[in-house]
């Protein structure tokens, strides 16, 4: 379960720390107390930054780091595809062996495939991804509302 990639991201997280954003969310995993505060920054539909602070297990912290790596700079539609693929992998209960196509989409995130075998830990891996989804809805929902009133 603890792939070298995961431990690397845990020990040396990418993009950690809170920076300016369009929306901020705070998500917790009540079963183990993992927490994340996450902000997203958009330029139109392009993600210009995902910043975060959190505490929790290596899986939840490494996953946030991988999320930052994968999604910053992407267009929303592409980011959604990556998020959905990661969700599918994490909900696979260990039954999906990532193939080349999946690896191309998920890059480092395929290292979490082993985590999907541990139901208690899947939520840890998904915490930051759910937070990102929520923050995005708030940021773009808000932006759309602003456009309408303008």
């Amino acid at each position: 379960m603890y792939q070298e990639v995961i431990l690397d991201h845990y020990k040396h997280p990418h993009g950690r720390g809170l920076r300016d954003g369009d929306a901020e969310v705070h998500h917790v995993n009540p079963t183990c107390g993992d927490e994340i505060t996450l902000r997203v920054k958009y330029d139109g539909e392009q993600i210009t930054d995902i910043s975060y602070e959190g505490q929790g297990c290596s899986i939840s912290q490494a996953s946030a780091s991988v999320l930052n790596d994968l999604l910053v700079g992407k267009e929303l539609s592409e980011a959604r595809k990556i998020q959905e693929t990661f969700l599918e992998l994490m909900q696979s209960k260990g039954r999906i062996e990532p193939d080349d196509d999946m690896e191309e989409v998920l890059e480092d995130a395929v290292a979490f495939a082993g985590v999907s075998k541990y139901p208690a830990r899947v939520k840890c891996a998904l915490l930051s991804w759910m937070a990102w989804k929520d923050a995005t809805a708030q940021a773009l929902g808000g932006a759309e509302a602003e456009r309408k009133t303008a």
Binding site: M1, Y2, L7, C32, E35, C57, S58, R121
Partner: protein, 418 residues
């Protein structure tokens, strides 16, 4: 192998527990250190459960056929065993529930519906402690919300003990009930019962003791405790799940109203009203957990044959050894008393910044089962400013070698995440 004074013959005892021979994760020997969550079951208990279903199964207290009578005798025989085990003055003071949570909720509901002088209402106060299991917090929060009674609690000292410095302000003339844990499931602390009971008696408050982590590990004498109610569960003391106990003083059980209504708890029923059976049946509505009670009886026989004082001595020796060895692990901090004095065999700790879930997962890969999380005692984690702990807890079959395996495992965890 490490020899400590006071240890039981674990080699013989472990032969009674088939599961302890199991291997996990490709042939690793199971090191089961999650006994505060639930204990393993000896062959004697498993056999009693099987035998009950194979030979005696019937519903109790009804029917005149042989099986019904034998099943009733076994069920009521289990009540006798519990009564003797806790030195209850009367077998009628032993109520079977499904677990300790139900026992605690039962008392909260008895008091919520009671008449004077027991009634809990907006002019009265309820006292608990900050080290309670959620099962001894939430029922009182519910009662407080429903009646308007004020909920108060004892705080904790930095070394994991109850802060009783303000006992006279916490327990007052307004206090109706003081409910506290005898041995903490997260800190391991053994609480000073006498001091709290004496103050409660001064003001005429009832006392409920949660003995879930005590009954499995030490002699339990409800008369010596001088409490009004004592709650515990069967599955932590070698019994099956689904069976708990509430002991209550007879005159209270006579006065207090029932909570659950149904079959078995009545005397006569008309469409307008009913009268109730005497305790304990008044509090046992519906078909009870019969096989489970029989299994608990077998567990009590098993533990009594070994001797609760000997089990206590065994666990004390293990705890002393474990505390000493754990404190030598770099970055390890015990959450709770750091000596074996007035301390049970559940030891919570943090390991540097490594999250308990990671600690538990890496230990699991080595075959070592510990509990991680807030142990249904989240206020304790908040009090000490930690998200969670790793907890190792021992029982009569635990060995110094298993503690050595834990310490080696923790070393591995540190290297892994270091």
């Amino acid at each position: 192998m490490t020899q400590l004074p006071g240890l039981l013959d674990t080699e013989a005892i472990r032969k009674d527990f088939p599961i302890l021979d199991r291997t996990v994760h490709d042939g690793r020997k199971l090191v089961y250190l999650d006994n505060a969550a639930t204990s393993q079951k000896p062959r004697q208990v498993l056999d009693a459960l099987n035998e009950y279903y194979e030979r005696y199964n019937a519903n109790v207290h009804r029917g005149v056929h042989v099986l019904a009578e034998e099943a009733t005798a076994l069920y009521e025989g289990a009540r006798d065993k519990v009564a003797a085990f806790i030195n209850a003055p009367s077998r009628d003071e032993v109520i079977f529930t499904k677990n300790a949570s139900e026992s605690l909720n039962l008392v909260a509901n008895m008091l919520g519906w009671a008449d004077e002088p027991y009634r809990v209402d907006h002019e009265t106060e309820i006292v608990i402690t900050e080290m309670e299991h959620h099962s001894n917090i939430v029922p009182w929060q519910l009662l407080s919300q429903r009646t308007g009674a004020k909920l108060k609690w004892f705080g904790l000292t930095d070394d994991g003990r109850l802060d009783l410095s303000n006992i006279d302000e916490i327990i007052t003339e307004k206090t109706k009930i003081v409910s506290f844990v005898l041995v903490s499931n997260i800190l391991g602390t053994v609480n000073p019962v006498e001091k709290i009971v004496r103050r409660a008696q001064e003001v005429g408050a009832l006392v409920l003791i949660d003995a879930s982590q005590a009954a499995p590990h030490m002699p339990l004498d409800v008369q010596a405790l001088q409490a009004d109610f004592v709650a515990f569960t069967g599955h932590k003391m070698c019994g099956p799940t689904g069976i708990g106990v509430l002991w209550g003083r007879q005159e209270l059980l006579e006065d207090l109203p029932p909570f659950l209504g149904g079959g078995e708890m009545i005397e006569t029923v008309s469409m307008h009203s009913s009268t109730y059976a005497p305790a304990p049946h008044k509090f046992e509505a519906g078909t009870p957990p019969i096989a489970q009670a029989v299994g608990l009886g077998a567990a009590i026989d098993y533990l009594s044959a070994i001797g609760m004082d000997k089990i206590l001595a065994h666990e004390h020796a293990l705890t002393e050894y474990a505390v000493k060895r754990l404190l030598d692990v770099p970055d390890l901090k015990i959450i709770g008393p750091t000596t074996a004095e007035d301390r049970g065999a559940a030891i919570s700790f943090t390991l540097g910044d490594i999250h308990p879930h990671d600690v538990g997962q890496v230990l699991d890969e080595e075959g070592i089962a510990v509990r991680v999380g807030h142990h249904c005692a989240r206020p304790v984690c908040l009090r000490y400013g930690i998200p969670a702990t790793t907890r190792a807890s021992f029982y009569l079959y635990s060995t110094p070698a298993e503690i050595d395996a834990l310490v080696d495992g923790l070393e591995h965890v540190r290297n892994f995440f270091g």
